[in-house]
């Protein structure tokens, strides 16, 4: 490739990444600050882990984190099943009744403003309760259903795009050798698209773990999630404990993403080597 790297592009990249990362790094740095003023560095007593200690003893945050974790895990597992089915169907069946509708229904949640999704789901739950008595009140169940509805759309996109790029010859060969479609799916297709399903699961988990707006609409008393607690704290201004929470989140996410991409690139290399 005969491409002269232009200084303009390099400068843009440098500024762009600085823009993306300075806020994140500032939270990490100030999580070790002793001062309650958060952004005023207390050089005498810093760095300190005291806010880490106080976060880990904050019952309200720990309870909320436990609720968020439960919702996120159930949501991700459900969304992966629904999204894989939808993504598989959309990628492999070029024509079926309702294809257009299914495609539209899996694209729209990606861009739908959260306030609309949240409000509409809450009104559905209220109407259902009046009509058939289920769900009785709002809480973990309604919140999980709401999360699954928007996260499955993301899983669908991930699975669908993976399906579109892989060689169908293996599936055909298996079918020519007499394997039933269900067996072909579990023995051939599923292992090949597994990385996409894993990314889909992680994506669905994160979306649920981070969601504030849809959770606020669909949760009930006593089921405040972590983002809801954080939001009510942050509205009152900066808090050193939130910086700690951010730092822990960033550390976990970074390890997870780097780990998964390392694992995926190794898997891709060994696949290439096997060819």
């Amino acid at each position: 490739m005969n491409y002269r790297r232009s200084y303009f592009i390099v400068t843009c990249l440098a500024f762009g990444f600085a823009f993306l990362y300075v806020p994140i790094l500032s939270m990490v740095v100030f999580s070790f600050n002793a001062s309650k003023l958060v952004t005023v560095w207390d050089a005498a007593n810093s760095p300190t882990l005291k806010w880490y200690y106080s976060l880990l003893h904050n019952e309200e945050i720990l309870d909320a984190a436990w609720i968020s974790l439960k919702v996120a895990v159930i949501n991700a597992s459900g969304a992966v099943i629904l999204g894989t089915l939808a993504g598989f169907g959309l990628a492999r069946f070029s024509q079926f009744r309702g294809r257009f509708t299914l495609n539209a229904m899996t694209t729209a949640p990606l861009v739908m403003p959260e306030v609309i999704t949240g409000l509409s789901l809450l009104l559905l739950f209220v109407a259902l309760e009046q009509l058939i008595g289920w769900p009785a009140g709002r809480g973990l169940t309604t919140m999980t259903i709401a999360h699954m509805t928007f996260s499955m759309a993301y899983v669908t996109v991930v699975v669908q795009s993976r399906m579109a790029t892989f060689d169908t010859a293996l599936e055909e060969a298996a079918m020519d050798l007499g394997a039933l479609p269900v067996k072909v799916f579990f023995v051939i297709t599923l292992p090949i698209i597994f990385p996409a399903i894993l990314s889909g699961w992680l994506l669905a988990f994160t979306l649920s773990w981070d969601d504030l707006v849809i959770s606020s609409f669909t949760s009930g008393p006593g089921s405040s999630t972590l983002p809801m607690v954080v939001f009510s704290k942050v509205r009152l201004g900066v808090s050193p404990e939130i910086n700690v929470l951010a730092t822990i989140t960033i550390a976990v996410v970074t390890m997870m993403i780097v780990g998964v991409s390392f694992w995926l690139s190794r898997a891709a290399r060994s696949e290439k080597a096997a060819d």
């Binding site: 990249l13 069946f93 789901l121 259903i145």
Partner: protein, 304 residues
């Protein structure tokens, strides 16, 4: 495609089984709710639980009354607050999308033209903030922008300013928050589009005497049209209804329609008015969503 033919041997029942579950799920939890929102937007406000009156009522023996109440919509169009909020949201979302394009295009372009090892690292760096909580990343800007925040402290320390600047709770802060949060959504589709570009076209243009900027304007820009459109829609549509960022960074005067809806619902308990706002917003955004879907369809068709 042979696989399609062999798969089609399963017949409609097999396909039906695969897609029925997600189809029904989305129908019940994504489409039906909008019908209910529409219905409630025509109801009266009531001091009850839930706080709206039924649309259909039995009045006396064997008679059914359907009361369609247009007051909520009339209210939206008479009180200037709502239209003002709607127009302001469109303006904010539009300007934010342009800013994202100006900042994101060179980044996506730079990544697409890097060597493949650097490219993966850079892509990872773009995706990483997206995986970290949006709420926490918006929160980070409070610490940077507030009166005794990081930016003011640094500028005072450098002697550039003597009094802290008021940045938090201004439109400026809101734009920063939106651009910052939505930038990855623009970079990724644009990168995916630019990655497929045949760069030899640019070399050919240069050999024929085209200046780099001219080549960019005449070749790269038109060819990346779908990427630009897809990325812009992913920023514009959700940004119009954004709630968290104006609520945290924009201050009390940041009038955005998502915030108005939230307040109608949570503070005023005016569910019918909130529903009418949602319908209004939806009517405005559906054309853009359909546009996005057709752009996406063109992109996937082009990829094959």
């Amino acid at each position: 495609m042979k696989s399609l033919r062999s798969l089609s041997k399963i017949g409609v029942s097999g396909r039906g089984l695969v897609v029925t579950l997600p189809y029904l799920w989305l129908l019940l939890f994504f489409v039906v709710p909008f019908v209910i929102v529409l219905k409630i937007s025509f109801s009266d406000i009531d001091l009850a639980i839930p706080p709206y009156k039924p649309l259909i009522e039995w009045i006396g023996k064997n008679s059914l009354a359907i009361k369609v109440n247009l007051n909520n919509y009339a209210f939206l169009f008479t009180d200037p607050l709502y239209l003002h909020a709607l127009l302001n949201s469109i303006k904010v979302a539009f300007i934010s999308t342009l800013l994202c394009l100006v900042i994101g295009y060179p980044i996506a372009y730079g990544i697409a033209r890097s060597a493949s090892t650097t490219r993966n690292v850079l892509l990872l760096l773009v995706v990483l903030p997206f995986w970290t909580s949006l709420l926490l990343r918006v929160y980070a800007w409070i610490g940077l922008l507030k009166a005794n925040g990081v930016i003011n402290n640094v500028l005072i320390w450098l002697g550039i300013i003597h009094e802290p600047l008021t940045m938090l709770y201004t439109p400026f802060a809101m734009y920063i928050g939106i651009v910052y949060s939505y930038l990855p959504f623009l970079i990724l589709p644009l990168y995916a589009n630019l990655e497929k570009m045949d760069w030899q076209l640019l070399e050919a243009a240069e050999d024929l005497g085209c200046r780099p900027w001219q080549a960019f304007y005449k070749i790269t820009l038109p060819l990346s049209r779908n990427g630009i459109l897809a990325g812009s829609m992913l920023v514009f549509i959700p940004a119009v209804g954004e709630f968290v960022i104006p609520a945290l960074l924009g201050g009390p005067n940041a009038l955005m329609i998502g915030r108005v809806l939230w307040d109608e619902f949570f503070s005023n308990r005016a569910w019918p008015v909130a529903s009418a706002v949602a319908i209004l917003l939806l009517v405005l955004l559906v054309p853009f969503m359909m546009w996005y879907q057709s752009v996406q369809a063109r992109e996937t068709a082009g990829a094959r």
